[in-house]
């Protein structure tokens, strides 16, 4: 029963979210999130489940998206009778075809060879997109209009909210399909080939074919994400298939956590939020994102989801209460430390002498502000260092089964 309950709750959350965030900005962030979720999940079919590190996954997202825009243009011109609701499928199928072609020669090997081919293909397609103007539209890109064609039970998708429900429906179906794929023999074999290709070959599976299946499916779902992007933004440019977009999806999947199905969803939600909120307040948000990424790789190799999942043992042992106090004792000085560094970075970057940071007025030219902040940073750093042994002790205690008592 639990299995079904998760999906029903997931569907309810998707349906109710726009009620909570009904502003135009809220809905547009939600739209961005749904697209990012599909894209990041498709990426994890490669890296997390198949062990293939790709630096060019945006190729399938972008190609699917461009095809979808051309689909929209065709509807607009009346070339054929087609519903906008099915446009993401056009993107998906084109992504699938592209992945089938490229996968036919890139999936021979996993590891570095695959990563390098994906990098080369990514650069190749991004560079070609500026040369082949009739399909990619050059620098300006290709734009369409989603409001043409037959209406869907009276909806013409002129409003963002209607687009959200369309995207959310696709996202739900795609997420379910990708989850079910992990349960199929093909999905299981993808895990086996990731962990030990030689043994998989000994049982009689072709590691290459297993990789190709994962690769093609990943291309299909990336294409669907691209199609959703096309419906939502009505424009695609070279930026949607270049290395930056490929890097971004790697970031999402990795920060979320590669080892868990839900990881990329967490990563997509968190990063979309961080991006849109941070970029609203500071123009240094890319710097913070980079720092966050590097710190995650260094200290949370299993991502945010992995960090949460670490608490399964203490939870089952009923020892979560042991962790609460040490966590608070580390987190508060930690947050103060991070904020004071943040304030100093912003101060160094600021062009104006005085500016307001979290309600405090800072003077970037006066030594007083710098001195106080540096002192706060130093003190909170010491506090963090001093709280760590206690945290480690509590963690060890929370993860050990008590002996001697009745079990």
């Amino acid at each position: 029963m639990f299995k079904y309950a998760v999906w029903i709750i997931f569907a309810l959350v998707i349906l109710l979210l726009p009620q909570l965030f009904s502003s135009l900005l809220g809905v547009s962030i939600l739209n961005q999130m749904t697209i990012a979720i599909v894209f990041a999940l498709s990426y994890n079919m490669l890296l997390g489940q198949g062990g293939m590190l790709s630096f060019g996954h945006a190729v399938y997202f972008g190609l699917g998206g461009f095809m979808a825009v051309h689909g929209l243009l065709g509807i607009e011109e009346g070339a054929y009778y087609f519903s906008v609701t099915l446009i993401p499928l056009v993107g998906g199928l084109f992504g699938l075809l592209a992945a089938l072609f490229i996968g036919s020669f890139s999936t021979h090997k996993a590891g570095t060879v695959f990563a390098m081919i994906s990098l080369g293909v990514g650069e190749l397609v991004a560079a070609s997109s500026l040369i082949l103007v009739s399909f990619f539209g050059g620098e300006a890109g290709v734009s369409g209009d989603r409001t043409y064609g037959p209406t869907f039970f009276g909806y013409d998708f002129a409003q963002h909210l209607q687009v959200y429900y369309l995207a959310a429906a696709w996202m739900f179906v795609a997420t379910l399909a990708m989850y079910l794929f992990t349960q199929t023999p093909a999905g299981r074999m993808a895990n086996a080939v990731r962990d030990n290709p030689e043994r998989a070959e000994f049982i009689g599976y072709s590691a290459r074919r297993v990789r190709l299946i994962s690769f093609v499916m990943a291309g299909f779902f990336a294409g669907i994400a691209g199609g959703l992007f096309a419906v939502n933004y009505e424009i695609l440019t070279e930026q949607n298939l270049n290395a930056a977009t490929s890097g971004n999806v790697l970031l999402m999947a990795y920060i979320g956590g590669l080892g868990f199905f839900i990881g990329p969803i967490v990563g997509a939600v968190v990063l979309t939020l961080v991006n849109s909120v941070l970029s609203h307040y500071t123009d240094l948000w890319m710097l913070y994102l980079g720092i966050m990424f590097v710190l995650t790789v260094m200290f949370l190799p299993n991502g945010l989801t992995g960090f949460l999942m670490m608490h399964r043992t203490p939870w089952h042992l009923g020892k979560m209460h042991l962790l609460v106090k040490p966590y608070i004792l580390t987190a508060i000085p930690g947050a103060v430390f991070a904020l004071s560094l943040l304030a100093m970075v912003e101060m160094a970057h600021s062009f104006e002498a005085e500016f307001v940071f979290l309600g405090a007025t800072l003077n970037s030219e006066g030594a007083l502000s710098w001195g106080i902040l540096a002192a706060i940073a130093l003190l909170s750093y010491v506090a963090v260092r001093r709280s760590l042994p206690r945290l480690r002790e509590a963690w060890a205690q929370a993860n050990t089964i008590d002996t001697g008592g009745p079990s």
Binding site: A115, I117, G120, L124, I131, G247, L250, Y254, G290, V297
Partner: protein, 316 residues
């Protein structure tokens, strides 16, 4: 025709040797740690920016020495406190770490130096035409670049094959445990190699900055090309890196200098298409137009037909 060929060759040589300075460090680091350093070109960018800032106070020549040393020390610190920590989580984590590092360094450069192009110039003493051929000048600075690159290659080759340190490094590549058992500090050797490799990248940045302009995107421009070279040459092979660097440098230089394209080919074949043909973009392609994508085409072909690269012995 002849003059175009000569200048294309000279320019290709300059680019190729410059690329080699980056590729040599990258391939050395790869053969030691088995990790491709995505941030390698970022160290090259840091070299150019450090040299720019130092040269504001001291002029070009001290910066030529100081900037690569600073970059090398920074690289060694990153290896010691970042990469070594991530090493435990496996190769994918390492690759992803260097990928994030490249992203971070680009943002950091924009934070410290801004987005605008820096006015980093070659020294006045080298600011004269070395010789004039068919009415075209060949700047002395480019000759200086060629000289430095060749000197680096010779020095690197000498150290790696003729000195005791080089022998220990080579042994540490193939048999790290044995070398460790003999009493050498292998992690220390790794850190030193990483530092020297990134330092070399920094040196490349110092001498390339004035020619290729110093701006926050300079790492991205060269980053993936250097990767291509290391893979084509064969991962871990110094000679392969040299050959591939020159190959890519000359290939791009010739492609840009040429004026042939699909129209000429079609003419020669006697085929013609209407201007509004749906594939007109393809029929009107010229060689200079596709020059930037040639290295990637070559990369994909090499990986399909010879995954170990031209001179490589192993695949990953």
């Amino acid at each position: 025709m002849f003059e175009v060929l000569i200048f294309a060759t000279l320019n290709g040589l300059v680019t190729g040797l410059l690329l080699f300075m980056l590729a040599s460090g990258l391939t050395l680091i790869f053969s030691m740690m088995g990790v491709l350093n995505f941030a390698h070109a970022s160290f090259y960018m840091l070299g150019a920016y450090f040299a720019y800032s130092i040269s504001l106070y001291t002029g070009f020549w001290p910066a030529l020495i100081l900037a690569p040393v600073l970059v090398g020390v920074l690289g060694a610190l990153i290896e010691r406190y970042g990469l070594r920590r991530v090493h435990k989580s496996g190769h994918v984590a390492e690759l992803v770490f260097t990928f994030g590092l490249a992203f971070l360094i680009e943002e950091a450069v924009q934070f410290f130096w801004g987005r605008a192009t820096k006015d980093y110039r070659s020294p006045d003493i080298l600011d004269f035409p070395l010789f004039t051929l068919f009415g075209q000048n060949f700047p002395a600075y480019k000759a200086f670049m060629i000289f430095i690159s060749i000197a680096i290659f010779v020095a690197l080759y000498y150290v790696l094959t003729r000195t005791r340190i080089g022998i220990i490094i080579q042994a540490a590549i193939t048999h790290p445990h044995t070398v460790g058992n003999l009493g050498h500090n292998v992690p220390m050797i790794f850190m030193a190699v990483f530092g020297v490799g990134t330092g070399l990248a920094g040196l490349a940045g110092v001498i390339a900055g004035p020619v290729l302009t110093t701006f926050p995107g300079m790492a991205v421009v060269l980053g993936s090309i250097v990767f291509v070279i290391v893979v084509i040459g064969g991962l871990g092979s110094l000679a392969g890196a040299l050959v591939a660097s020159l190959l890519i440098g000359l290939l791009q230089s010739y492609a840009i200098a040429s004026d042939v394209g699909m129209p000429d080919l079609l003419n020669w074949l006697g085929v013609s298409f209407e201007r509004d043909h749906p594939l007109n973009d393809i029929w009107s392609l010229t060689l200079p137009q596709i020059a930037p994508i040639l290295p990637y085409l070559l990369l994909i072909l090499v990986l399909i037909f010879r995954p170990s690269g031209l001179f490589g012995k192993r695949e990953s």
